[in-house]
Amino acid sequence: MPTAVDRSEVLRLLAEDDAQLVEVLPQGEYDEEHLDGAIHLPLKSLSPHTAQVLDRGRPVIVYCWDGL
């Protein structure tokens, strides 16, 4: 079950657990502005193939605009 985290926990996961940040918004919104270091993997094209850009050995943190 995915775990909801806040900003402070995101910072901890990045610093201590080498987590991967993943933005799941469409291309235009990612291009306009994204978190420094975030990988782009839009929800609408999320598949076993596209998810290969992620490292299976590291935690994954997904985000969108505000969770809705």
Partner: protein, 143 residues
Amino acid sequence: MSPRAAWRLERLGFAPVYDYVAGKVDWMAAGMPTVRADDRERRAFEGAGLEPLTCGPATPVADLPAGRSPIVVNSAGIVLGRVPARRGEDSTGTAEDVMRPGPTTVRANEPLDPLLERMRASGVAEMIVTTPEGRLLGLVHRD
């Protein structure tokens, strides 16, 4: 959107998967680093002085510099109020006794130029910048 993506990634075999629910808007509002296609728009955080005068709620009024308006913050850096620059002759009590609680604040990603325009229009000289949790980040001066 991110909850569905998190579940989908878990279904694809990734673990652990975390959902930063508050998302990009929360990150930006806290002044955290982002990559922007167009960074010409200045934001409040970029226009703010980052070390405004502060004091704790228990600071004696007698210890506050005359004519200055320190921001009252608690031990977590949360803005509690602001001591008025004009506070009369009476220097007894603490900052908490004389502060004006709940000053108006903006978040770090507030566009700076429209903010300065609103400040000019309403005669506001300074604006406190905080994170979404209310932690002090800086102080925007109108001029």
